[in-house]
């Protein structure tokens, strides 16, 4: 019982790291511009397919493709932000939702056209394949790797936001956009970089998730619900909140699948609805 509990906690934590990477960018950009970007998982898909093409079709080593996944997703998100999204910052929630859902549908069809609808996978290096056995509990190497990367990126993000000039601008813009503009901060520019960073991190998350959940063009829609739950529960514009929400969601999803398989995803949705009714602004939300 204890061993399985440790295993569930470990697997859930690794899954939570993945969810954190996928959703942290959305949380911060939503907090800054109030822009509901439902196409965030499409950026993750861009990164995932970048890794897949480089690794499976051009023979790159898996680890070398990860930075490229980040770059590809970041570039695509900058292009979309500059050309399309910025026209909609003043539109209603509903318009933003519909517009970005449209982008999701287009991205699904485009990837289905180029990569077919088959489930794809990538080869990871040998040292990521095995597992460690400690006291009857199995710790898969790949999940340890996920946790290490997730924690390293969280630490880097916290440093970036708390200690740098850019981070101070982002925090100011999240807290009070008009005031930040009044102080001479170029919020649009800061937002563009934040958006690219968030898109890139999602791309990295997408690339890392291939090994765990596989990859097909419906990825952009399948993980959207999870990402939205993390954002809504964690609170807008909060890195710590997203981290906590992602870990809670990852662990409760794993625990639900392990202990109550007949409930399906019921438990997750119940937790989300209850948390939202209790705190509509999210666990750590300020506004």
């Amino acid at each position: 019982m204890f061993a399985s509990l440790a295993g569930v906690l470990f697997d859930g934590f690794a899954y939570g790291m993945l969810l954190f990477l996928l959703s942290v960018g959305l949380s911060v950009t939503l907090g800054m511009m109030n822009f509901v970007n439902l196409a965030h998982c499409s950026f993750a898909m861009v990164g995932a397919y970048a890794t897949f093409s480089l690794a499976a079709r051009h023979g790159w080593p898996f680890l070398a493709t990860l930075p490229m996944a980040f770059v590809a997703a970041a570039v695509i998100s900058i292009i979309l932000e500059r050309t399309l999204y910025r026209r909609l910052y003043r539109s209603s929630d509903l318009d933003q939702c519909l517009f970005t859902i449209g982008i999701v549908f287009i991205s699904i069809a485009v990837y289905a056209w180029f990569y077919t609808t088959e489930q794809q996978s990538v080869q990871v290096p040998e040292w990521l394949k095995g597992a460690q056995h400690v006291g009857g509990t199995t710790f898969a190497n790949y999940r340890i790797f996920l946790i290490v990367i997730g924690l390293a990126i969280t630490a880097a993000l916290v440093l970036l936001v708390e200690r740098t000039r850019f981070g101070a601008q982002v925090r100011a813009a999240v807290d009070n956009q008009r005031m930040a503009r009044g102080l001479g901060i170029d919020v649009d520019r800061a937002f563009m970089f934040t958006f690219a960073l968030g898109g890139g991190l999602a791309g990295l998350g997408g690339a890392l998730s291939i090994q765990m959940v596989g990859l097909d063009p419906t990825f952009a829609l399948a993980y959207l619900v999870y990402v939205l739950i993390v954002v809504a529960v964690g609170g807008l514009g909060s890195i710590g909140g997203s981290f906590a929400a992602a870990v809670v969601l990852g662990i409760s999803d794993m625990a639900g699948k392990y202990y109550f398989p007949w409930l399906g995803a019921f438990l997750i949705y119940l937790v989300m609805v209850a948390l939202l009714m209790w705190r509509p602004l999210g666990l750590f939300g300020k506004r």
Binding site: C97, F105, V225, L228, F266, Y269, M272
Partner: protein, 312 residues
């Protein structure tokens, strides 16, 4: 306030809906699907277009209605009109219960909560497979017909039934919209803070509108059950909630005919395109959504009425 009387164009429009009987008899089953979807979109229009409640989980009520009608037909009797009323009543009760929670929230929390309730119901129906048939859907019943007209393979009675229910519900919705209550709803949509300040019981109005919309969505679900004699989990799915939202926005929210026009265009286009390749249907619907938001913020009907007003 707009004129509440029927205009000539509206008579023509409803007369045109009778055309499938003579012009395209081969497509009558598609036509009855369109009528059902129109009714569903109309019910969403009441809360989204008129009361300003954005919902990503409206299929919950459609599904409750569909399953209620299916269970009655399977276990008790197959007379559709009474099943229709009971289905509407059941989804109305669910809607009234949820309305107490839903109307208090706005923005992202509202979208997430409506979506969450929709997903919860879908999961519950999936788990309770003894009652609902689970992923296989509810099968093993047959609704023979309505008022002596048989539901046959040509689908004449089915379309007549769906169209009649749509028309009656439309009249009810029209009456609601043109009443002082409808005016108050639009006031709440435009300014949720000022309406209570001038003495309108804002939350009570929203609850009422939400319940009416739930009843209508449930009736739409029941009509689908009666005309197809099956209920699938898809009636509760997130996809159906998203589809109906797209349909309403495409046609034009906040206009009574928006949902019907949107449903006709969307369903006919899907029928034609997905015959070629279902995968790429999503590309066109995505492009359509992007274009509507960018260039036609009030949907097709909004664009048309702007065109008509310009010359003056």
């Amino acid at each position: 306030m707009e004129n509440a009387k029927f205009r000539t164009l509206e008579y023509v429009f409803w007369a045109c809906l009778l055309l499938p009987f003579v012009v395209t008899p081969a497509y009558l089953s598609l036509a009855s699907q369109i009528a059902v979807t129109s009714l569903f979109a109309l019910s969403l229009d009441l809360i989204l277009g008129y009361a300003g409640i954005v919902s990503l989980g409206h299929a919950a009520f459609f599904g409750v209605g569909a399953y209620t009608a299916g269970l009655i037909a399977k276990h008790y009797w197959t007379e559709p009109l009474s099943g229709l009323l009971i289905a509407g009543l059941c989804s109305g009760i669910v809607g009234y219960a949820l309305s107490h929670i839903v109307v208090r929230f706005r923005h992202l929390a509202l979208i997430m909560l409506t979506m969450g309730f929709g997903l919860l119901l879908a999961e519950a129906a999936n788990s309770a497979s003894d009652l609902t048939g689970g992923a296989d859907g509810l099968q093993g019943f047959h609704v023979p017909g309505v008022l002596g007209f048989k539901f046959d393979m040509f689908g004449r009675a089915a379309y007549a039934y769906a169209l009649a229910v749509l028309f009656v519900s439309f009249l009810v919705a029209r009456r609601v919209i043109h009443s002082p209550f409808g005016l108050a709803l639009r006031g709440i949509r435009e300014n949720a803070v000022r309406m209570p300040a001038i003495g309108a019981p804002s939350l009570a109005h929203l609850r009422k509108a939400y319940t009416i919309a739930a009843v209508m969505a449930g009736i739409a679900g029941a009509v689908l059950t009666h005309t197809t004699s099956t209920v699938s989990l898809e009636t509760l799915s997130f996809g159906r909630s998203a589809d109906v939202l797209v349909i309403l926005i495409l046609g034009g929210a906040g206009r009574l005919y928006g949902g019907i026009v949107g449903a006709i265009i969307y369903m006919v286009a899907r029928d034609q395109f997905s015959g070629v390749n279902p995968q790429y249907w999503y590309f066109w619907i995505g492009l359509l959504l992007v274009a509507v938001v960018m260039f036609l913020p009030n949907g097709i009907l909004g664009g048309l009425s702007a065109l008509r007003k310009k010359p003056q």
